[in-house]
């Protein structure tokens, strides 16, 4: 083991360029085949998007890749000491548990206050730090979940339907943020979604599954693939609406209009 690698591992995290390598994964639960012969790999800096119709096994695949469920068949290699940030579809905290967003963020990783503030600002909800977690709206909760996943400085970010409950502008922001993080930190991103056009624009590799892998490749290749068109007939050849519409202004959190580039945190919107 090299010195650099040892150092990296002491501080947590993996050095492996390939974060996840799955071959021939099969999953059978209660006698029902959920996944059959699924292979995929995720490298550092890569955004891999899993799409598929309802009941295709997308979330199950995520669970297997996360190590939450044992695959019934196949081989799964995960990066050594890999740190994973996981954002589940939705979570509900019982009101009987008094928990502020601040405590929620630090349940696992303790972090100094400025970092928590910065983390929340990054996902666009800077004022929620002391709010009881039960008072958050669906979209706010998604953003807080993302902030928590990022606080652990993950090698791999795993997102289950990241855009759910977030409004359209918010979705753009979330995907821009993910894209920026991938470039800045070099983490890999694995996303599950059925928001085809938005997600496919953000992807390097799209894996279309329906229990088995129907087709895989770059977004434009997948969108032309007959299997894909059969699964998503409405999406058609022009199904990729790349998220490129330009704003000449953005709204801050109070709804006030600000010019693009007016503040540092909004620059990315102008891409």
């Amino acid at each position: 083991m090299s010195e650099a690698k040892r150092k990296r591992i002491q501080g947590g995290g993996t050095l492996d360029p390939v974060l996840i390598e799955a071959r021939g994964l099969g999953l059978i639960r209660n006698g029902r085949t959920i996944l059959d012969d699924v292979s995929l790999s995720i490298r550092r800096g890569q955004v891999v998007v899993v799409i598929g119709p309802n009941g295709a096994g997308k979330t199950s695949l995520l669970r297997v890749l996360l190590g939450l469920w044992e695959p019934s068949r196949g081989q799964l290699n995960r990066g050594l000491h890999m740190r994973v940030g996981y954002m589940p579809q939705r979570i509900q905290v019982d009101p009987i548990l008094p928990l502020s967003v601040r405590r929620f963020l630090t349940l696992r990783h303790r972090a100094p206050l400025p970092r928590l503030r910065e983390g929340l600002r990054q996902v666009g909800v800077p004022r929620l730090l002391e709010a009881p977690i039960q008072t958050l709206s669906g979209g706010e909760m998604q953003r807080v979940l993302l902030a928590r996943a990022l606080l652990g400085e993950p090698d791999l970010l795993v997102l289950d339907e990241p855009a759910q409950g977030v409004d359209v502008t918010g979705q753009g922001e979330v995907f821009n943020l993910i894209d920026r993080l991938r470039r800045d930190t070099g983490c890999g991103v694995l996303m599950v979604s059925h928001e085809l056009h938005l997600v496919m624009a953000a992807a390097d590799v799209v894996v279309c599954i329906n229990q088995h892998v129907c087709c895989t490749g770059r977004p434009e290749e997948v969108s032309r693939h007959p299997e894909y068109q059969r699964l998503f007939p409405d999406a058609g050849v022009h199904g990729i609406g790349i998220y490129t519409h330009h704003h000449n202004h953005v709204h801050d959190l109070t709804g006030e209009v600000k010019p693009v580039g007016g503040t540092a945190e909004n620059k990315d919107d102008a891409r």
Binding site: L68, P88, I91, L99, S100, R117, R127
Partner: protein
């Protein structure tokens, strides 16, 4: 000082309340009230086995409770029966099995009422020492497990992905519940132990902003209930265990009417 049975009773009650309160918060947060009931009902089986084998009762009660708790978790995973059905079957079978076993042990004359409803005034020095050791151990264990337990209570899968060792932590929680049951058995009896865990915790909710505040307040309300209950039991000649639970209930009800509000958004927006 320990010669006075009232002092011993108060000390035993206080020690149990201090652990049962914060642990009760977890029982409430994780919706384990009925689970706690089921496990505590099996304590009598531990008592019977203790007499049968001639071993320390507290030890056997703890062991039996841990075993029942683990069995429950295992059975709940199979999901063939709804959780409440399963708990109902086990709670009452365990209680009946305990009573039948007690009846089988030849020559044993057990004051069943004392085990079912507690007999805090009969606490001996030895009992007190056992409660102190068990309680202290439970308190330390709870402090060690607090953060990981909280993490898996909020969302078990995120916690697992973030590296919380879920299975050991959950087993630790089972051990904690068993320890509290073993020491609380003499104070309020197997039928009422869960009340000592969940009523103070439920009382604390309104006044707490953080999980830690809720745990500490629950301990405080538990202490209050024990003191009021023992005093009431003396002055009105009522059974002590049920009196403590009645006191806890009264504290809960009265505090529901106390106006109390604490701003949930005290934060000044951070400088941008």
């Amino acid at each position: 000082m320990l010669d006075d049975f009232v002092i011993r009773a108060v000390l035993a009650g206080l020690m149990v309340a201090v652990v049962a309160g914060p642990l009760g918060a977890f029982v409430v947060w994780r919706r384990m009230a009925y689970f706690g009931d089921t496990v505590s009902h099996s304590a009598l089986l531990g008592v019977a086995l203790g007499f049968l084998l001639g071993l320390n009762l507290n030890l056997l009660v703890t062991v039996v409770c841990v075993l029942v708790a683990v069995l429950l978790v295992f059975l709940q995973r199979r999901q063939e029966l709804a959780s409440d059905t399963l708990l109902g079957i086990l709670a009452h079978s365990a209680l009946s099995l305990g009573m039948v076993t007690v009846a089988f042990v030849e020559g044993l004359r057990v004051d069943l009422m004392a085990y079912l409803f507690g007999d805090i005034l009969a606490v001996t020095r030895g009992d007190l020492a056992a409660i102190a050791v068990g309680g202290l151990f439970a308190l330390v264990l709870l402090m060690i497990l607090w953060r990981p337990l909280l993490a898996i209570t909020v969302h078990e899968e995120i916690a697992r992905v973030e590296g919380v060792p879920v299975l050991p932590v959950r087993l630790g929680l089972m051990l904690l519940i068993a320890l509290v049951i073993a020491s609380a058995m003499q104070v309020v009896g197997v039928l009422l132990i869960t009340a000592l865990m969940i009523i103070p915790a439920a009382t604390a909710r309104r006044f707490a902003r953080t999980p830690e505040e809720m745990g500490l307040l629950a301990a405080g309300f538990g202490v209050l209930a024990v003191l009021l209950g023992i005093w009431g039991s003396f002055s009105h000649d009522t059974p002590t265990g049920p009196s403590i639970v009645v006191a806890a209930m009264l504290v809960f009800v009265v505090l529901q009417f106390v106006p109390f509000s604490r701003s949930h958004h005290p934060q000044v927006p951070p400088p941008e």
